[in-house]
Symmetry: C2
């Protein structure tokens, strides 16, 4: 009995896509330089039972399964492999419960991040994780890649908001792990193991998420610096003095110019680094004044605090446009995601500038500076083989630099296909052996998202 | 070659204790009703290399190893098994680094929680996890049991503060996992797997801990209620309205009377429940006023807000004395640790009172109410076999009730020996199978803390 017929036995017709023109459009997420195969079929289940049927079928027939959310990922973790079942969770998009007393939401994996955020806002609650793609990306994808965002400097990453999960295992059995409670230490933390596992250990079909009370609206400040080193010094001072900004972002000269070219924002061309800080505290103006003074002391040539939410939005717009602006510089971009201890941020930025010069490339950097998480974005002409090669090499140099500075190859984008050769380098042989051992416990046949991570 | 001689080859003489009178004193942690065996030897290493030597020796000779911190645990997780090596980490107690810019501390496992807390305070930093035993318990033990404390309602549990670990594996190899950075998603989260694993996966020899800026001193309020249900209604209202207390504790009538009897605190005997709330916000008085009003609306007969830190301490003293006071009621106590969704807290407390009546026992409850984490404390006469049996049965009924209310058998004390029969009931067969699989990956010979957890 063939794969499609077997799938049909437990799925409605419209949940099974086989037209190659259609299935081909499910081959990729948003990463560059990542191989992608041709799926045999795309399935769009709407229930847990349907997911179980798909996994039982895959196990019986030994067919690889590639789970997908909204495919906004940046590491190729959702890329199809040849002959695989693409298991898209986008139709499982119900918000099942929002509970203000327990401060939790229970959701299906296909819920869009922004949809959940707005829904909990209506109850005076806040779901912090806010990847740049928050209007499109799904909670299941956020869990799979352990996504971050702008708010992490104060509120942490997705992992910190996942309390419990329902997961369909490789063989189709259903596991419920974690909790609905604020605390719980019964046994090993399987929930956390699934977060960031890129669909390689099981299919998340339901999540219990922790929520926070909705904070006051944030107020932002922009500070212009004559060097990235001075901006990084300000970042270190702000954090060492105990401030709790809700956002602390840095843009380098290349990013600033790209944004200026695109949107005529009037940022002075002499600015080498722009620092954006925001506070959602009860007295944001006082916090901004204190942080503004630290910026000035570190050498800022201009400090512009917003006085209203609208002014704040205007200041933050430059940061939001960065990636789009950098994508216009050349025909292609590769976004890196190296995170270093924030005390090493200046070295990371200087080192990245040196790598750009070495390879004669344009590399714009924006950074979640408060977290030490940099996104060096290599701009290159994909039609030029030499420039493409240099782009790939510079990308590797950037990761090597990050590791050398005590950092990690990925702060929030994940490993996927893009960085799997680098994962072993970061983890070391003992770590890799243990991780492979864990993978085998959950997926002895190796059918879940093969070729990713390791 | 025998065990002791083999250990001597890599350890100084004073690090090896073999006198049965001495080794016998290492047999137990602080849990009641938990079997403990007789160790063959107690070792007190001072270096990572010595720990590696111990584990290599244990692997070669197939000798079980029981890791111990300060033995303040409440589940028997550190209890010796017959013929085991007790591996006490208390001599590895260096604070290696405190870094205010990166907001991290790097420590050895034997560092006492309060010692670390005070050391980081000197840098304007804060290590939140504060188990009741914080003056005695060690960071390694806190990591092993994923400890909580009073501050968790605002600041979360130990797990949230462990960024990276060095772990000596069962076979003596050294694993470094996790990070020094604020974010990082490279591979499966092994770090989190070790937290709460009760020494069953490896020996933590170094930890990178996240720190927070030191908050302002907290200001507390006490509110007296005519019923636990009214107090729980206040808890739900406080949390649903988005307040962020730094402490939200509840004491039931039995606890209040025990404290009154011991310390003559003058709490009215008509009080059925005492709620304690504190805020370490910039304007604690305003927060206390708002919370006081919610208490009054929920039926509080008296609300006493502190105006100074000294007054706050006085109010909180009753809570701090609870366990000691309950220990004086009868010759023995069993402390439970059931955590339920906070919306079910009232049912948990009423149900516990019914269980006390059913078994004709004194059960005092104090609770980290903001977390839904209750500590029903069964007071009984250990010399009376029938009362001891009823105590044990009531303890089980309390866990069953917690699970029935959507809770967990352990919010912060762990499983150890005490609750291992209950772990399977909470996890279910699929969860247990996966957890056992993980255990086998890390400890194929089963020498690490055998007989605990499963």
């Amino acid at each position: 009995m063939d794969l499609i017929a077997r799938l049909r036995a437990g799925l409605p017709g419209e949940a099974i896509l086989t037209d190659p023109d259609v299935t081909g459009s499910y081959a990729n997420d948003m990463a560059s330089f990542c191989e992608a195969g041709t799926p045999a079929v795309v399935v769009l289940p709407r229930t847990v039972e349907q997911v179980q049927h798909i996994m039982r079928t895959a196990t019986e027939l030994r067919v690889p399964v590639v789970p997908q959310g909204a495919r906004t990922g940046l590491s190729g973790a959702a890329n199809a492999s040849d002959g695989c079942i693409v298991l898209s969770l986008v139709k499982m998009d119900r918000i099942i419960e929002i509970n203000p007393v327990d401060r939790i939401a229970v959701v299906e994996p296909g819920v869009i991040n922004a949809v959940l955020s707005r829904a909990v806002n209506e109850h005076g609650l806040y779901y912090p994780p806010d990847p740049s793609s928050w209007e499109e990306c799904s909670i299941g994808g956020n869990i799979g890649t352990a996504s971050g965002g702008l708010c992490c400097v104060k509120y942490g990453v997705t992992a910190e908001y996942v309390l419990g999960l329902d997961v369909v295992l490789a063989d189709g059995r259903l596991l419920t792990c974690g909790r609905r409670t604020a605390k719980g230490v019964a046994g090993y933390d399987l929930t956390r193991l699934f977060v960031g596992s890129e669909g390689s250990l099981g299919i998340v079909v339901r999540a219990v998420l922790a929520l926070k009370p909705e904070p006051p609206g944030q107020l932002a400040l922009a500070a212009e610096f004559p060097s990235t080193a001075a901006a990084c010094e300000a970042v270190c001072e702000i954090m060492a003095r105990g401030h709790a900004p809700s956002l602390l972002e840095l843009m380098d000269r290349t990013s600033i110019r790209a944004v200026n070219d695109m949107a005529q924002m009037g940022l002075p061309d002499s600015t080498e680094a722009l620092l954006l800080a925001a506070f959602d505290t009860p007295e944001p103006a006082a916090d901004l004044a204190a942080v503004g003074a630290l910026c000035t002391a570190a050498g800022a040539t201009e400090v512009v605090p917003a006085e209203t939410a609208a002014e704040s939005d205007l200041l933050l717009q430059a940061r939001r446009l960065t990636l789009t602006a950098l994508e216009r510089v050349k025909s292609a971009t590769m976004i890196d995601d190296v995170c270093v201890p924030r005390s090493r941020l200046a070295e990371m930025l200087d080192g990245t500038a040196a790598i750009a010069e070495k390879y004669d490339l344009t590399i714009g950097v924006c950074a979640h500076a408060g977290d030490g998480n940099t996104h060096p974005t290599v701009c290159f002409d994909a039609a030029d083989p030499d420039e493409s090669r240099r782009a790939r090499e510079s990308f590797d140099d950037i990761m090597a630099l990050g590791l050398q500075l005590g950092g990690t190859i990925t702060g929030e984008h994940g490993v996927g296909v893009l960085k799997k050769e680098w994962l072993a380098r970061e983890l070391g042989p003992v770590g890799v052996e243990l991780q492979r051992g864990i993978k085998e416990v959950f997926d002895p046949l190796g059918i879940l998202n093969p070729g990713k991570l390791f």
